[in-house]
């Protein structure tokens, strides 16, 4: 005689998943998500990442040399809303560990030396004020002056309202910076990461030689809420998404995070012109980046610092615990 006993497992205290995808809601181990470049292992949803994490993922190991981290924000308008502007800046600095919403420097990407500018949405919504404009300008000037490509990762809610008209002027300033790079024929590639809106998308972000976005990135000048309130139009499915923008002709490609380094490396080699690099050398790009090219990066950064008559301070950042990544942020609603 067979007796079937059904046992229902009832955990009175179900284990809370370590991490749940904000898009598909499926749980995963945080370490697994981290190892997957902060992309959901189930649905491929790309989480927002900090500038430091972006740099770690995008550049050849140990090649990033930060420049101009001591360019700091002032308060030209003595602006106060619910808080004063300096208070908001201090909070953002404490939260992100960054001095401003953009991190700039030199790096090698898949073996190609470049100037790199990376925006951080976690710093006051990646908003563009005088410092973002100035650091982008210097990046462009360095690229133009040293005949290096410029790669910018753009993620921003738009202009820094607390700097009033001066924040608007950064749109013109960064567009003039693009004129500078174009004139010097330095390659310019932008990677748009969620979200990329307002003044940044309507200036340097979309003026690059090649403009790509991560999957799911929201891109628009005017947001859905303002459109709905002003024109009362119904928004089409997928409005503002990278995928829709690709179909509409506003992007060169939508590229998954794991492919960015190689893709951008290819772009830089192609825009560099000339003969196709030796296959072995190409596949060995990382090694090359660690060797000769990285050395060149360092030399160039040093030469630049000497030019600007100030001490070179970027060299030891990587060693000084940069591996300590800030916690990943979930997309804000």
């Amino acid at each position: 005689m067979n007796v079937t006993v059904e046992i229902e497992r009832r955990d009175s205290n179900p284990v809370k998943p370590e991490w749940a995808c904000p898009s598909c809601k499926q749980p995963a181990r945080l370490a697994e998500v981290r190892a997957n470049l902060m992309v959901c292992p189930h649905c491929g949803f790309h989480l927002r990442i900090s500038a430091r994490e972006r740099i770690r993922q995008l550049v050849d190991e140990g090649t990033f040399r930060e420049l101009w981290s001591n360019v700091l924000t002032l308060d030209p308008l003595k602006f106060t809303d619910l808080e004063t502007y300096p208070e908001r800046v201090r909070e953002a600095q404490a939260k992100t560990g960054l001095s401003e919403a953009i991190v700039t420097g030199t790096a090698a990407i898949d073996g190609t030396q470049c100037v790199l500018a990376v925006m951080d949405f976690g710093f006051m919504g990646g908003s563009m004020g005088s410092v973002v404009g100035e650091k982008l300008w210097r990046s462009a000037e360095l690229a133009a002056g040293e005949d290096l490509p410029l790669v910018a990762v753009c993620s921003s809610g738009g202009a820094r309202m607390q700097e009033g008209i001066l924040s608007l002027m950064q749109m013109a300033k960064t567009s003039c910076a693009v004129d500078l790079i174009n004139e010097a024929t330095s390659p310019f590639v932008t990677i748009l990461a969620d979200p990329c809106t307002g003044g940044v998308v309507a200036s340097f972000a979309t003026l690059a030689d090649i403009c790509i976005a991560e999957p799911g990135t929201q891109l628009y000048f005017t947001g859905p809420r303002v459109i709905a309130e002003t024109t009362h139009e119904t928004l089409p499915e997928g409005f503002g998404s990278a995928e829709r923008n690709l179909r509409l002709g506003h992007l060169d490609a939508v590229v998954a995070r794991k492919d960015l380094r190689v893709k951008v490396g290819n772009y830089l080699r192609l825009l560099g012109g000339g003969e196709e690099p030796d296959r072995a050398a190409t596949t060995g790009g990382r090694e090359r980046g660690k060797g000769g090219m990285a050395q060149t990066a360092l030399e160039r950064a040093k030469a630049f610092a000497a030019y600007a008559r100030r001490p070179f301070v970027g060299g030891d950042r990587q060693a000084a615990g940069e591996a300590e990544e800030p916690a990943a942020r979930e997309p804000s609603p």
Binding site: L82, E163, G164, A172, F221, P236
Partner: protein
């Protein structure tokens, strides 16, 4: 309050200034791609005996006009029309006079999907590249990127009661105060007035208006604007074409305030020596 004068219904518009200041205006229409945007008017004409290109936002006065011109809110086709006209001016060596009067770029689905962001960015870049003299005059509302797209100029003039701002006071209040009712406080904090912008170096000159605002005597207002443009043009004529472009870039490079312990403000080009292409 200034914002109200800047938005006054009777305030002279771009077409009024064209009427007062430009002889034999020939309007040129269309972006040569798909449409003509009435929110931006442009064309050729004679300014004090000299052939110039004029481009400006047009708001309209009556309700019908305003609707036709989308209250001066340009779409991508409007900005592309401006770009085409800038290219024309460059080819034929004509100075560019632009008039800024818009609450902002048109906030619609078709505009967004038609490439509004890139259209604005590209207009700024194309203005930055011009070697002909470029003079922008803010005559009413200078609203956000939609306004700036026509104001990447060698000289930016601004009428006494005009405003120029990164965002409308209402929009700013809705975001930072989380309530549009705080618009007066936002307007106060944003300081969008001509005198303040002069202080920040965003505009070179404030043009006086008749008592109570330009709408009280458009003819006198236009005469003052014409005088200011003529003086700016005379200054710019003395500069070599490629030098104008370099100085225009430098003008915008200087806009902003930051601190850098190792590089004092006023240090301009780190790479003064790089060669031009």
């Amino acid at each position: 309050m200034t914002v109200e004068i800047a938005r006054h219904k009777g305030r002279p518009r771009t077409r009024d200034y064209i009427g007062y200041l430009i002889e034999g205006f020939e309007e040129l229409r269309g972006d040569r791609l798909r449409a003509d945007d009435p929110a931006i008017v442009g064309g050729l004409g004679w300014f004090r005996g000299r052939a110039v290109l004029v481009v400006g936002h047009q708001k309209g006065k009556t309700l019908d006009e305003q609707e036709l011109h989308s209250w001066g809110m340009a779409k991508p086709e409007g900005y592309r029309k401006a770009q085409r006209l800038f290219a024309l001016a460059e080819r034929h060596g004509l100075p560019v006079l632009s008039f800024v009067d818009t609450p902002g770029a048109y906030p619609g689905v078709a505009a967004e999907e038609g490439g509004q962001a890139r259209a604005i960015a590209d207009t700024m870049l194309k203005m930055a590249r011009l070697s002909v003299p470029v003079i922008a005059t803010v005559i009413g509302e200078g609203g956000s990127g939609g306004a700036l797209a026509l104001a990447v100029a060698d000289r930016v003039l601004m009428q006494e009661n005009a405003t120029y701002s990164v965002i409308t006071p209402e929009g700013c209040a809705a975001i930072l105060w989380r309530d549009a009712a705080f618009a007066p406080q936002a307007a106060e904090a944003l300081k969008p007035t001509a005198s303040h912008l002069l202080e920040l170096g965003v505009v070179e000159r404030v043009v006086a208006e008749p008592r109570g605002g330009a709408h009280h005597n458009p003819e006198v207002a236009a005469a003052s604007v014409g005088e200011a443009i003529a003086e700016a043009l005379a200054e710019l004529d003395g500069i070599a074409p490629q030098e104008r472009r370099r100085r225009r870039r430098e003008r915008f490079q200087q806009l902003g305030q930051w601190s850098d312990p190792e590089l004092p403000p006023g240090t301009l080009s780190l790479f003064g020596g790089y060669t031009t292409g």
